[in-house]
């Protein structure tokens, strides 16, 4: 499956959560996702972004790659190697983000490639298959 990719790089500050949210919702809005699903995407994008902000150095940036596929959106949120929060903190928040992201997404995982670690979040539109049954 070929996917169009949109890359967004924003300062690692909470006030840019809206930019991230709106980018994500704009990308999935024509994908046939329902309002419920779009809202899940918005929560997922925001949580993943906030999580990455915690791991970015102060006055750093967070890079997000949105891959717009056929009825699904994949978001890869790049994580900085260095973290400015303590281990215990990081664990707690990572567990929280994991719980939420697992609840609202179809796939959520921590992964890494040659450029470093990233969060991978996938949300699929279920509407078409449901319509087929009706």
């Amino acid at each position: 499956m070929t996917a169009d990719t949109v890359t967004l790089t924003v300062p690692s500050r909470g006030e840019f959560a809206k930019t991230v949210r709106m980018t994500a919702s704009a990308l999935v809005s024509r994908m046939g996702m329902t309002f419920d699903e779009v809202d899940d995407v918005r929560i997922a994008a925001e949580e993943a972004f906030v999580y990455a902000c915690d791991h970015a150095p102060e006055s750093g940036e967070v890079r997000l790659d949105f891959a717009v596929g056929d009825g699904e959106l994949e978001i890869r949120v790049r994580l900085s190697a260095g973290s400015r929060i303590t281990d215990e903190d990081a664990e707690r928040r990572a567990a929280y983000a994991t719980f939420l992201l697992q609840s609202v997404c179809d796939t959520f995982e921590m992964s890494s490639d040659e450029t470093g670690p990233y969060l991978r979040v996938v949300k699929r539109a279920v509407l078409e298959s449901e319509d087929a049954e009706v």
Binding site: K18, R21, M22, S25, A26, S29, R30, G32, M33, T34, F35, D36, E37, V38, D39, R42, I43, E47, V50, E88, D89, R92, R93, A95, Y96, T98, F99, L100, S103, L127, E130
Partner: protein, 262 residues
Amino acid sequence: MPRSRDAGKQSRKLSWDKKHTRELFRRYRVEGDDAARDELITMYLNLVKYLASRFRNRGEPIDDLIQVGTIGLIKAIDRFDIERQVEFTTYATPTIVGELKRYFRDKGWAIKVPRRLQELSFRVNQAIDQLTQRLQRSPTIPEIAEYLEVTPEDVLEALETSEAYNFVSLESDRGGDGSDSFSILEYIGKDDQLMAIVDDRATLAGALKQLSPQEQRVLYLRFFEGLTQTEIARQLDISQMQVSRLLRRTLKVLRESIVREA
């Protein structure tokens, strides 16, 4: 507190006011003198005006705020217990402020939003509910756009706008209606999924206490029962947009608490 400034300004009149107030209350309560009630309302209109002015910069006309505040004043007059050793202003102030806060909560616009977007946001909200009924599922963004004859981008903008309302301050009173005794804390023993994220039970308990019963319930239904927003909206008889907002606010409070406590 700004209230003391107000009290200072009025201090010269105060002793006469106090006596006169007691007399008016006596006439209204004991003799059923409605003119006394009217006089009380007029007398304390300045208090309403002052309190309403504190909410002035939130995009609502001051006259509307004074009207709302006056309703609070009338409630306070009707409920005030003259036997209690409390000044009427002390009693009335929280009632009036409460009425103003409720107005903003119901009306929902805590941050000034362009009227076009306010209206669109309102219409999107209605469209979601109507389309959900018609389609028997949550509608897609293009479906909402087509229904309202706007672009999908307009719908998305309206969704973002809706974040601007229902800003409920953490200091505001919680669970005021008391009708809903649901507490997510009761369920935590049964399902430790969320607990796994916090080693310290007190952290989560503290965070959850900041949530209203309704917010706790939405959180529970969404993340423990795994219901969709549409299903939650139906079950709680609120709009999907409200579910969305409640959820977002709830997650924000939890996230912030977890960080703060850590």
